[in-house]
C-alpha cells in the first residue's frame, strides 16, 4: 500500500521528466553531436580547436573580459545599495526595492535601445553636451558602450538576490558581533559579508552568464564593430549556415559556464535556488 502510494507520487514527476528529457537533454545532446562532427558526419575536434585561431580567441577573451567587468561593476553597485535598503524602515523598503527592479518589466530590447538613443553620435547626451558647449562623447560602438548596456540590463538581477540574502541576516547576529567588541569594519567583513555569499553567488550567476553569452547588446550598442563569442555563434547559425562550428563553440561556452559554476559552488554551502 505504502509503496504503491509512493510510486504514484513519483509518477507525478513523469510529465516533468519527459519534458525535460525531450526539450533539454536531447537538444543538448544534439548540440554535442553537431559540435563534434563535420558536415559529412565524421567525428572531429576541429570545431572546438578552431577557438585557438586568432579571430575566435579574440572574441572569446573579449566576451570573458567584458562580462567579468560588468559583473564586478554590478556587484560593486548593488552591494552598497542593498546594505542601504536593508537599513531603511520597513514601510518604505519594499517600495524602494520595487523601484529598483521595476525596469526589469520593460522589454529587454527597449532598455538597450534606450542607451543607443542616449549614446548615439547625434544622440541625447551629445545634444546636451553640445548645448553646454562641451566636447561630444564618443562611446557608442565601443566595448565601453557594451559594458554599460550589460550593467544597465542586468543590474536588477544582482540587486534582488543580494538584497534578499542580506535581509535574511538576523539583526541579533550583527548586534551580538558588536556586543562582543567588533568594530564596524570587522562586523562587515567577518559577519555580514560571509553570510551574504549565497546571494552574491546567485547574483553573479545571473549577471555573468547572460553577459557572457549575449549577442543582442553587442549587436545594438556595438554597431557591428565589437564581436563577442555570442555574436559568432549566432552568425554561424543564422548567416554562415555552419551549425557544426556554431555547436562546437556553444560546447566551449558550456564548458566555461560549468567551470565558473563549479568555482562558485565551492563557496555556496546550501546551493539550491537562492535567487528569488
Amino acid at each position: 500500500m505504502k509503496i504503491k502510494k509512493n510510486l504514484s507520487k513519483t509518477l507525478l514527476a513523469g510529465p516533468y521528466l519527459v519534458w525535460m528529457i525531450a526539450f533539454t537533454i536531447i537538444p543538448l545532446c544534439m548540440v554535442g553531436v553537431y559540435g563534434l562532427t563535420d558536415r559529412t558526419g565524421v567525428f572531429t575536434m576541429d570545431n572546438l580547436t578552431l577557438l585557438a585561431q586568432r579571430g575566435y580567441m579574440k572574441a572569446l577573451l573579449l566576451s570573458l573580459g567584458l562580462s567579468l567587468l560588468s559583473t564586478v561593476i554590478c556587484l560593486a553597485l548593488s552591494y552598497p545599495l542593498a546594505m542601504i535598503l536593508r537599513s531603511r524602515g520597513n514601510g518604505r523598503k519594499g517600495f524602494m526595492v520595487f523601484l529598483f527592479i521595476l525596469p526589469m518589466w520593460m522589454n529587454f530590447l527597449l532598455r538597450t535601445l534606450a542607451w543607443r538613443t542616449l549614446l548615439e553620435k547625434n544622440g541625447v547626451i551629445n545634444a546636451l553636451l553640445d548645448l553646454m558647449g562641451l566636447p561630444s562623447l564618443q562611446i557608442i560602438n565601443t566595448p565601453a558602450a557594451i559594458v554599460l548596456g550589460m550593467v544597465y540590463n542586468f543590474l536588477p538581477f544582482m540587486i534582488l538576490p543580494v538584497y534578499n540574502c542580506l535581509m535574511k541576516i538576523d539583526n541579533d547576529v550583527i548586534n551580538a558581533a558588536k556586543d562582543l567588541g567588533a568594530n564596524a569594519f570587522q562586523t562587515f567583513f567577518r559577519v555580514i559579508l560571509p553570510l551574504s555569499v549565497p546571494g552574491i553567488i546567485s547574483g553573479v550567476t545571473m549577471v555573468f552568464i547572460p553577459a557572457l553569452t549575449t549577442f543582442v547588446i553587442s549587436d545594438l550598442l556595438g554597431g557591428g564593430k565589437v564581436l563577442l563569442i555570442g555574436n559568432i555563434i549566432e552568425q554561424k547559425f543564422t548567416t554562415a549556415n555552419n551549425w557544426h562550428v556554431g555547436s562546437g563553440l556553444s560546447l566551449v561556452l558550456m564548458i566555461f559556464i560549468l567551470i565558473s559554476m563549479a568555482v562558485l559552488n565551492k563557496y555556496d554551502k546550501n546551493g539550491e535556488g537562492n535567487a528569488f
Binding site: R54, G55, Y56, K58, A59, G94, E120, K121, N122, Q138, N141, G223, G224, K225, L227, N231, I232, Q235, F237, T238, T239, A240, N241, N242
Partner: protein, 357 residues
C-alpha cells in the same frame, strides 16, 4: 511576502487580456480566404504599402509575410526546412546557390502571363544565375554605391577610395553582409568581386581591417535612417534606397564609383518544398502586373524591370541616373555569382576576422 498581492492582480489582468487576445488573433480565416494561403519571404521594407491587402482581396489568398535582412540569413531557414515558404525573393548569386543545391522548382509560366511586362534585357541578365529563365522572375534591380552628405563631404566623390580617407574617421557606414563588404574592397583593388583566389581575398580582408578604425558602424538597413539623420557622412548603400533618402534629406547624393560596383537582381523564386505552388505563381503574376509594380516602385523606390510600370513613370524618373545608370558605368559592374562551398567558407572566415579585429 509582499509581492503576492500585486502578483495576484497582475495575474487577473493578464488572464483577461490573453483571453481577449486569443479570440481575435486565432480566428478561423477560411471564410475570408477561400483560396488558402501563400507564405512569402521577402526583404524588409520591400513591398508597396497596400499591395498585400490588394492581393488578398483580389485573389482570396491569405498572405503570411515574413522578412529577412540578408541573403545569408534567408538561406539556412529554407535549407533546413524549418519553415516551408511558397515564394522567396533572393538575389542573383543566392538564386544560383539555391538552384544548384536543389532547393528551387521551376515556375509554371502559364500561370504567370504578366511575365510579358518584364523587359527582355533583364531576363537576359538573369541568365547569369538562371540559364534557362525557368526558376526566377525579376522583381527589382540596381547597383551598390556610395551615398554621401554634400554638407559633410566637400570634395567630389567618384571612387571607393574615399571610404579609406582618414578625414572621415567615424563618419563611414559599411554594409554588414559578407559579399557586399568584400565587393567594395575587391573593386578598390581592381579584382573581380567574384574572386576566389585566396591571396586576392586575403588582400581584400587586410584592406577591410585597415579600414575598420574609420568605420562608425557595420549596418544593413540602418544605413538609410542614419544617413537621413546626419549620423554619418558616407555610407555604402543599394541604389534603391538613394531616391527615398534624397526625398527625406536633400543633401544626400548617390554615386557609383568609377572602379565599378555590384549590379544586382532580386527575383521571385519558388522553393522545392513550397506547399502552395499555385498560389505562389499567383503572387508572382500579381507582382508583375504594371500597376502593382508601379505601386511597389513608388513606395520602395527600387528600380523595376517592369516595362508597364516604366510607362507610368515621369519622364524625369526615367532619366534619373540613380535608377538607370549610364551604360558605360554598368559595363564596369559585375553581377555576383555563387562561388561554391569552399570559396564561401573562405569569405566567411575572412569576414569574421574583419569583424573581430
Amino acid at each position: 511576502m509582499t509581492k503576492r498581492n500585486y502578483f495576484f492582480l497582475a495575474a487577473a489582468l493578464v488572464i483577461s487580456f490573453t483571453s481577449a487576445g486569443c479570440g481575435s488573433s486565432r480566428e478561423d480565416n477560411s471564410g475570408r480566404y477561400p483560396n488558402g494561403q501563400v507564405i512569402v519571404y521577402n526583404w524588409g521594407e520591400y513591398i508597396g504599402e497596400d499591395v498585400i491587402a490588394k492581393f488578398e482581396e483580389e485573389t482570396g489568398i491569405q498572405v503570411i509575410y515574413d522578412m529577412f535582412e540578408t541573403n545569408e540569413e534567408m538561406y539556412p531557414k529554407v535549407e533546413s526546412g524549418a519553415v516551408a515558404y511558397d515564394v522567396i525573393c533572393p538575389s542573383d548569386y543566392m538564386i544560383q546557390k539555391m538552384r544548384e543545391n536543389g532547393l528551387l522548382q521551376p515556375i509554371d509560366f502559364s500561370n504567370v502571363p504578366n511575365l510579358k511586362y518584364i523587359g527582355s534585357e533583364y531576363l537576359e541578365y538573369s541568365r547569369a544565375f538562371d540559364p534557362e529563365n525557368s526558376y526566377s522572375v525579376p522583381y527589382c534591380w540596381g547597383t551598390v554605391g556610395i551615398l554621401y552628405n554634400k554638407t559633410m563631404v566637400e570634395e567630389p566623390v567618384d571612387s571607393w577610395d574615399i571610404l579609406w580617407d582618414p578625414k572621415y574617421k567615424n563618419e563611414i557606414l559599411m554594409q554588414k553582409s559578407v559579399r557586399d563588404a568584400f565587393a567594395v574592397a575587391e573593386k578598390k583593388l581592381d579584382f573581380s568581386l567574384n574572386s576566389t583566389s585566396e591571396p586576392e581575398l586575403a588582400a581584400a580582408r587586410d584592406l577591410l581591417i585597415e579600414q575598420k578604425p574609420l568605420v562608425q558602424a557595420y549596418v544593413i538597413d540602418q544605413v538609410r535612417d542614419m544617413m537621413i539623420g546626419n549620423e554619418a557622412a558616407i555610407g555604402v548603400i543599394y541604389s534603391g534606397e538613394a531616391l527615398y533618402t534624397q526625398e527625406e534629406n536633400e543633401n544626400l547624393e548617390y554615386v557609383i564609383p568609377k572602379e565599378g560596383s555590384n549590379l544586382w537582381f532580386d527575383s521571385w523564386v519558388i522553393p522545392a518544398n513550397a506547399p502552395n505552388k499555385k498560389n505562389a505563381e499567383a503572387w508572382i503574376n500579381f507582382m508583375c502586373r504594371p500597376d502593382i509594380a508601379y505601386d511597389n516602385f513608388d513606395y520602395i523606390t527600387y528600380g523595376t524591370p517592369n516595362t508597364g510600370a516604366m510607362e507610368m513613370m515621369d519622364e524625369e524618373l526615367l532619366e534619373n541616373p540613380v535608377l538607370f545608370p549610364d551604360e558605360e558605368l554598368l559595363e564596369e559592374c559585375e553581377v555576383f555569382q555563387y562561388l561554391g562551398p569552399d570559396a564561401e567558407a573562405i569569405y566567411d572566415e575572412y569576414w569574421m576576422e574583419v569583424l573581430s579585429e
